[in-house]
């Protein structure tokens, strides 16, 4: 055994896995290994992290608001300028999503969020809601700070070198180039990790594969908000300071370019400057999912763009330190929620 036993091995790339690993190590005193790719400034990001989700259940929105504040406070300790406030536009065009957006707006207002209806003359049939001052993570700034934060207390392992075996008896085997690693817990912390390592049949039973794509668009007509979610087009987009637009798209891969072009082009077409396609997962009832897949192998899915803000919750869950309210929320949202599923069902099923 070349490495000491770990309390938890977190598998995944991006802000959520990193924050969870760091919190487990620093706040909960766990021995943690993080298996995933290092951040590259050139990589098209697979997320547009923003502390908002098209959820309709008050307990979920209240939890997200609490976690947003907690995560923001944590990130403030990393350095300045990692978090900013921005307006976010939510656009619904199909009848069911118009109803869901209306439920969301009224619930958000009841909880003190600024959620106002607005109009877009180009989409007279659509319903639009603008959320003011939504918290978002600043890409390109957070990641290097997070990488530096992880240098203390977290062992980094390359995803290419790790082979995970989930045995029927619930024990975990982790083979690396340096030898076998033992760990008490494993967290599959993003969709790629679940697709690569979850037990056979788990994805088919509990989740729905969703084709995803990330695009960088050179320039476009002005957006009405820094961030925009076109619910029925499966597009989440964020304008950068340089005028470029980052787009995350979910759903039908063949129509992605038409959806983006129709949404972003004004008098002239827009031009793609980067593109990557990848596989994502959606929960079948639209609610977030966090819990044990088998034994002490846990997985998290369905958090959408708000995923990084759930890091404190996930870390406390793995450390056995959930608050009673969190435990109650989690109880309905484990992978094996079975008959309880309907009590957690929410709307944001396959959004980017």
């Amino acid at each position: 055994m070349s490495e000491p036993p770990f309390d938890c091995v977190v598998i995944g790339s991006g802000p959520l896995p990193g924050l969870v690993a760091g919190l487990l190590a620093r706040s909960h005193g766990k021995r943690v290994a993080l298996v995933g790719a290092h951040w590259s400034p050139f990589q098209l990001q697979r997320q547009i992290p923003v502390a908002a989700a098209l959820q309709t259940r008050p307990e979920s929105l209240k939890l997200l608001a609490r976690l947003r504040d907690e995560t923001t406070k944590l990130l403030a300790s990393f350095g300045k300028g990692l978090v900013e406030r921005a307006d976010m536009l939510l656009v619904a065009e199909a009848p069911e999503s118009i109803v869901a957006l209306s439920h969301f707006r009224h619930m958000a207002r009841a909880l003190g969020w600024s959620a106002e209806t607005t109009v877009d003359r180009q989409l007279p049939e659509a319903r639009l809601v603008k959320l003011r001052d939504v918290t978002r993570l600043v890409d390109g700034r957070l990641e290097p700070a997070l990488e530096a934060w992880l240098e203390t207390g977290v062992t980094r392992l390359s995803a290419r070198e790790v082979k995970l075996t989930l045995r029927r008896d619930g024990s975990i085997g982790i083979a690396t180039a340096a030898g076998e690693i033992s760990a008490t817990q494993v967290l599959l912390a993003d969709d790629a990790a679940i697709l690569a390592h979850a037990p056979a049949g788990f994805v088919e039973r509990q989740l729905t594969p969703v084709p995803m794509a990330a695009f960088l668009i050179e320039d476009s007509r002005p957006l009405d908000a820094t961030i925009a979610l076109y619910i029925d087009r499966g597009l989440l987009m964020a304008r950068s300071a340089h005028g470029a637009v980052r787009v995350l798209a979910s759903g039908d891969p063949l129509s992605v370019e038409a959806r983006i072009g129709t949404t972003l082009s004004g008098d002239k077409p827009v031009r793609g400057a980067g593109e990557v396609r990848f596989a994502g997962l959606a929960t079948q009832d639209g609610a977030p999912m966090l819990g044990a897949v088998r034994g002490e192998v846990h997985a998290i899915a369905g958090l959408g763009a708000a995923a990084p803000f759930y890091a404190p919750l996930v870390a406390r869950y793995l450390a056995g330190a959930s608050t009673p309210a969190e435990a109650e929320w989690l109880a309905l949202r484990g992978p094996a929620r079975g008959n309880q599923r309907s009590l957690a069902a929410d709307y944001a099923a396959a959004l980017p």
Binding site: S40, P41, F42, Q43, L44, T56, R57, P58, E93, A94, P95, E96, V99, A100, S102, H103, F104, R105, H106, M107, A110, L111, T117, G140, R141, P144, L216, I217, E218, D219, D232, R233, S240, H242, G243, A244, L254, S255, E257, A258, R259, G261, T262, L264, S265, P269, V270, R271, G272, A273, G274, E275, V276, D285, G286, S342, L343, A345, D346, Y347
Partner: protein, 664 residues
């Protein structure tokens, strides 16, 4: 006129042109002369137009990978064509597209007078604020759809061999070639001992396209997309003496990409100054159209192929002033031949600066530097008319990446090589990393046989042993002393990324990461060799950022909206399940005015509506029968139905009452 003699050896008179058929056409109002077989680009270069325009302070050479789009002024409206693939046709009037600043006296009598006094302009006068727009055909719909058993992109030796293998297997194969005729770059590289001469090999491979199956060769066509078993190509043809173009889509279950390799641009200030040309481009201009700029030349190279080019140039009567090699004490038979004819050779040096001497003339001042890290010694400038600046070779993987293939950085070759394996697509030849002609041919055949499910011999890429020929060096990157203002570009293409951008750092990250336009493979390869991109990231950057710059237009796409017949009584959406207890009730809520509550409005039994947790229910649908109010899902219902309840809508809390319970 920059045209080589009609009897120039080594085919340098131009095998594509017919000197017995002169022609005249107009470009931006200026009359240009050429021959049948010329392209608009070759005729423009032969007419001494050597600059496309300016990018900031830098004059940019007009070349095969960087030429403005053109349009004929009469005929098909909105026809946009590439200069390099559009034939020069007698009597046709073309204009270049994009921002242009023509001088006042460029045409007409004043222009003629000016040309007589000062000489004709040698630039197309374009102004580039940034990368020019992507060709419009990249987003166009196919006008012709062909069916085939296989498509081969590229009619070099690898592509021809792949097509021949398909034909021999009784298949119908479509071959798409960018140039006007097959052959590719094999002639530039020549052969090693005992190998068949490239021309003979190409001729034999073309003959091999006749067999059990059938081959369709589409020339002057650029394949720009491979998607879902379809290959899309933009084809330029001639109809009634005028140019035209269409989009051809070929549906085929197998695709071989024999797209070759392109020559990297050595990175030094002034590397895109008019008069600086790649070795392969110079050879192609000479052998296809007999075009050569100037009478004397300098050669800067990291490989031995340029020596062969220089020998042929000398045979064509051109003055080879000096060959500068970035390798230290290289050896090769061609180096020996150059020594034998008295060409001045220098090794361990790289180009450091190229500057125009006089505007509107093909004259350059070139400085070289010692190619040893930490040594800042430069040579005295040398005046010349053409600098052949050769870099390393980068397999052209653009279509491979667009089709879902991957890439990885090869540190030894300082190039991005293919990685991964998209379904039903195979690489061949230089695109697959082959370096010898024999390997390219074998890989073409093997690629097609593999896609046909047949076994093929293992491809062996036998290189000349290093004791006989020094291996190719990497593409040179010059040190840039402070104060040197000329731009050093990373690639010859339209991306216009400079070394300044790659070198600039913010928070320890290259500004190239913030570049919001498409990068080319040449940009990524140069940035990686310069250290701006980590080698481990280079493949990922190429995969994600080197996509063709597809334009995304408003297609009128709208979500598909299913409108099933509404149920007699609206059903609460699933996300309300359990929200108001295990046995909620459906209640019709009435209000004293005509308002209709929106879905999501919370319902409270008391007037204190501040706490959402205290809500007794929620409106989820309109009230039945078009009445005002709404239909609510309620966990608690007042004992007396006429009791006042409160519904919170956008205006605040509104008094209402339960009109009717529909069911438990």
């Amino acid at each position: 006129m920059s045209r080589l003699a009609a009897d120039a050896p080594h085919g340098w008179a131009g095998n594509a042109i017919d000197r017995g058929k002169p022609l005249r056409f107009r470009l931006n109002g200026r009359v240009l002369e050429g021959f049948a077989g010329d392209t608009v680009l070759s005729a423009a270069l032969a007419s001494d137009i050597i600059a496309a325009g300016r990018h900031g302070d830098a004059a940019l050479a007009l070349e095969e990978r960087f030429a403005p789009l053109i349009s004929p002024t009469r005929g098909k409206t909105g026809l946009v064509l590439p200069m390099a693939r559009t034939p020069a046709l007698d009597g046709v009037d073309y204009v270049t597209l994009g921002e242009r600043r023509d001088p006042i006296a460029s045409t007409g009598l004043l222009g003629a007078l000016r040309n007589r006094v000062l000489g004709p302009y040698r630039t197309l006068n374009h102004r580039y604020g940034g990368p020019p727009p992507a060709p419009p055909w990249h987003g166009a719909q196919a006008e012709t759809v062909l069916e085939a058993d296989a498509v081969v992109i590229g009619a070099g030796v690898a592509g021809l061999a792949a097509a021949g293998a398909a034909v021999a297997a009784g298949k119908h194969v479509v071959v798409i070639e960018k140039a006007g005729s097959p052959g590719g770059a094999a002639g530039f590289f020549g052969t090693v001992e005992n190998e068949e001469a490239p021309a003979a090999q190409i001729a034999r491979l073309v003959v091999g396209l006749e067999g059990k199956g059938r081959a369709t060769l589409i020339t002057s066509a650029e394949a720009y997309r491979v998607l879902g078993g379809m290959v899309f190509a933009h084809r330029v043809t001639v109809s009634d003496g005028r140019p035209t173009a269409d989009i051809v889509a070929i549906r085929a279950p197998r695709v071989v990409l024999a797209t070759g390799a392109f020559e990297r641009l050595p990175v030094f200030p002034g590397n895109r100054t008019p008069g600086v040309v790649g070795a392969l481009a110079a050879w192609q201009r000479a052998t296809r159209h007999g075009v050569w700029i100037g009478n004397k030349l300098l050669v800067a190279t990291p490989h031995s192929h340029s020596y062969r080019l220089a020998l042929h140039a000398a045979d064509a009567g051109l003055a080879v002033q000096r060959i500068v090699d970035s390798r230290v004490n290289p050896h090769s038979r061609f180096i020996d031949f150059c020594k034998a004819i008295g060409v001045t050779l220098a090794s361990g040096q790289i180009p450091a600066l190229a500057e125009p001497i006089r505007r509107n003339e093909a004259s350059l001042k070139v400085t070289f530097a010692v190619a040893i890290e930490g040594v800042a010694q430069e040579t005295e400038p040398v005046e010349t008319e053409m600098l052949i600046a050769s870099g390393g070779w980068q397999p052209d993987l653009a279509l491979w990446l667009a089709a879902g293939g991957g890439a990885r950085w090869d540190g030894e070759r300082q190039a991005l090589l293919a990685d991964g394996q998209p379904e039903a697509i195979a690489l061949a030849g230089a695109a697959a990393g082959c370096r010898s002609t024999a390997a390219a041919v074998a890989s073409g055949r093997a690629a097609m046989l593999g896609l046909l499910g047949k076994s093929a011999p293992v491809v062996s890429d036998a290189l000349i042993p290093s004791e006989f020929e020094t291996p190719d060096g990497s593409s040179p990157n010059a040190r840039i002393p402070s104060g040197r203002v000329a731009s050093a570009y990373l690639d010859r293409g339209p991306t216009l990324v400079t070394r300044r951008i790659a070198a600039a750092s913010r928070h320890g990250v290259s500004q190239l990461a913030a570049q919001t336009s498409v990068l080319s493979l040449g940009d990524v390869a140069a940035a990686t060799s310069l250290g701006a991109i980590a080698p481990d990231d280079a493949g990922m950057v190429a995969s994600e950022r080197c996509v063709p710059g597809v334009e995304l237009a408003d297609t009128g796409w709208r979500p598909t909206v299913a409108r099933p017949a509404p149920p007699a009584i609206a059903v609460p959406p699933p996300y309300l399940a359990g929200r108001f207890g295990p046995k909620p009730q459906l209640c019709v809520i009435a209000v004293s005015d005509s308002r209709h509550f929106e879905p999501g409005c919370l319902v409270f039994l008391g007037s204190d509506t501040r706490n959402a947790d205290e809500a007794a229910g929620v409106i989820f649908a309109p009230a039945p029968g078009g009445r005002s109010g709404g239909l609510a899902l309620m966990g608690k219902v007042p004992e007396r139905l006429d009791a006042t309840i409160y519904v919170v809508d956008s205006s605040g809390a509104v008094m209402a009452r339960v009109l009717e319970r529909l069911r438990a």
